[in-house]
């Protein structure tokens, strides 16, 4: 699974971090960090993260 976040859209709401803490996190300044190629077993929570992004900035490819 490949995760792509449109960093031009992202506004650091952090909703994805609640949905999928294994893949998304915030650095000390509150900016988003994420794992671009997470394990397939995390698909459900990554989909959830994509759903709850207020800017709809998260895409799951393949």
């Amino acid at each position: 699974m490949k995760v792509v976040v449109d960093m031009n859209k992202c506004q650091d709401h952090g909703q994805c971090v609640f949905a999928s803490p294994d893949v998304f996190s915030m650095d000390d300044d509150g900016h988003l960090l994420y794992v671009a190629d997470p394990d397939e077993s995390l698909r459900d929570e990554v989909e959830e993260a994509a759903d709850v992004c207020p800017l709809q900035a998260i895409r799951i490819e393949a």
């Binding site: 859209k9 506004q11 650091d12 709401h13 952090g14 909703q15 971090v17 609640f18 915030m26 300044d29 509150g30 900016h31 989909e47 759903d51 709850v52 207020p54 800017l55 709809q56 895409r59």
Partner: protein
């Protein structure tokens, strides 16, 4: 599974319902009927990035999940009436649509002011077309804007207008402070101060008596001013009415449902005691087992997704003939609002704890975190400020989730 689920309303709630029906195992047909001509799109940017010209309309469309690729979309087609006992819908194009299961997802539309005066120059913000028309109006040079209603949409639109360089932006509200209903007094005062510092004006504690216009008496004239109940007249070339919304439920009339404010559901989001009708999104008035069992509508962006997940499981189970053995629906409401350069971030149900608001962190002039309590329990947090404040609120989210259910 055979049969057809029809989803009435093709916005976020309708899309998420269709996707979640597939996730819940519904393999029968799904038809989503919507009156807007567009595929579902994201509304929050309409009063923010889109109005500011920072995001294009094209960037708003949701990307439906692959599992929902076979959903049939009937757009530009309002549902005119429902005959729930017969399980049919009448569409405005004259056709009839039969269903086995129905999802009510018709959301809200803006309430309008009935005051006398011209209508040209008066705007609302709910749809793409609304936002486009308002952006065109706001970007004409030298316009004066009056926003009626200091709720979250009114505050966002006014803040965006200030950011666009509009020279006069005034917000009118009969209440003494912006967003005081959901936030309570101290947080609303902190909000007011921030807006005033950034050049927004307010006419608070007064309503609107009517509109002045120019150009003739034929009813074609354009608005030139807003007449306040206290007799003052605010000059205005553009008026935005953001005075709340009404639920789009007329199509459900005649089925014996409680439609007093949205469509009433039980704790499993079922409608009218019928096992084959559920409601999702802004239109659903549901009891939240996390709080007090009083049915309420919740106009937060998180709710279409939360309700769709739960309602799709309920409906799929019932259409398959199973008992529903899910816990009662108990979402944690989540809300944000971007205004000027700051964000308001809310978790839980602050309105239930307005009587006991404490500063949990920071100070009301800077980044601040307010805690709302009922019976001594934390029921909601609201952060106001930059990213640090929002992250502070997030820390309390887990605590709010863990809290045992409250009873009235």
């Amino acid at each position: 599974m055979t049969g057809r689920v029809v989803v009435a309303g093709a916005s976020m709630g309708g899309l998420r319902a269709a996707e979640q029906l597939r996730a819940a195992g519904w393999t029968g047909a799904i038809t989503v009927v919507g009156d807007e001509p567009h595929m579902p799109y994201n509304r929050p940017p309409l009063s923010k990035e889109v109005l500011a010209g920072k995001a294009s309309f094209d960037s708003l469309a949701f990307t439906p999940k692959a599992a929902a690729a076979d959903v049939e979309w009937r757009l530009g087609t309002p549902v005119a009436a429902a005959r729930l006992a017969e399980r049919t819908l009448d569409l405005a194009d004259g056709s009839t649509l039969a269903f086995d299961g129905l999802v009510v997802a018709t959301g809200m539309r803006p309430r309008r002011l009935g005051c006398p005066g011209p209508t040209a120059g008066r705007h609302t913000v709910r749809t793409l077309a609304d936002a486009q028309a308002l952006r065109d109006a706001l970007t004409r040079p030298g316009v004066r804007v009056v926003v009626i209603g200091a709720g979250f949409i009114g505050c966002e639109v006014a803040a965006t207008a200030v950011g666009l360089g509009v020279r006069e932006v005034t917000v009118v509200d009969p209440l003494p402070l912006p967003m005081v209903g959901p936030l309570g007094e101290a947080p609303a005062r902190a909000l007011l101060r921030r807006h005033e510092e950034r050049g927004m004006r307010f006419a608070l504690g007064t309503g609107v008596a009517g509109f002045e216009g120019a150009g003739g008496v034929e009813g074609e004239d354009r608005v030139t001013g807003v007449v306040l109940s206290d007799g003052r007249v605010l000059p205005a070339d553009v008026v935005v009415e953001s005075v709340g919304s009404v639920a789009s439920t007329e199509w459900l009339d005649g089925n014996g449902l409680d439609l007093t404010d949205g469509v009433l559901t039980d704790e499993q989001l079922r409608v009218g005691g019928l096992p084959y009708v559920v409601a999702v999104g802004d239109v659903a008035r549901f009891p939240n087992a996390r709080y007090d069992g009083v049915p309420r509508r919740v106009e937060h962006w998180s709710i279409p997704t939360d309700t769709a997940k739960h309602a799709a499981k309920v409906l799929t189970a019932q259409l398959a003939g199973f008992e529903v053995c899910l816990p009662a629906f108990a979402p944690l409401p989540t809300f944000w609002s971007d205004q000027h350069d700051f964000r308001l971030q809310s978790f839980g149900a602050p309105a239930l704890g307005k009587g006991d608001v404490r500063v949990l962190d920071g100070d009301p002039d800077g980044d601040v975190l307010f805690g709302y309590h009922r019976g001594g329990h934390l029921v909601g947090v609201v952060a106001l400020g930059g990213q640090a404040a929002a992250m502070g609120a997030a820390k309390y989210r887990a605590q709010l989730l863990k809290q045992p259910a409250l009873t009235a």
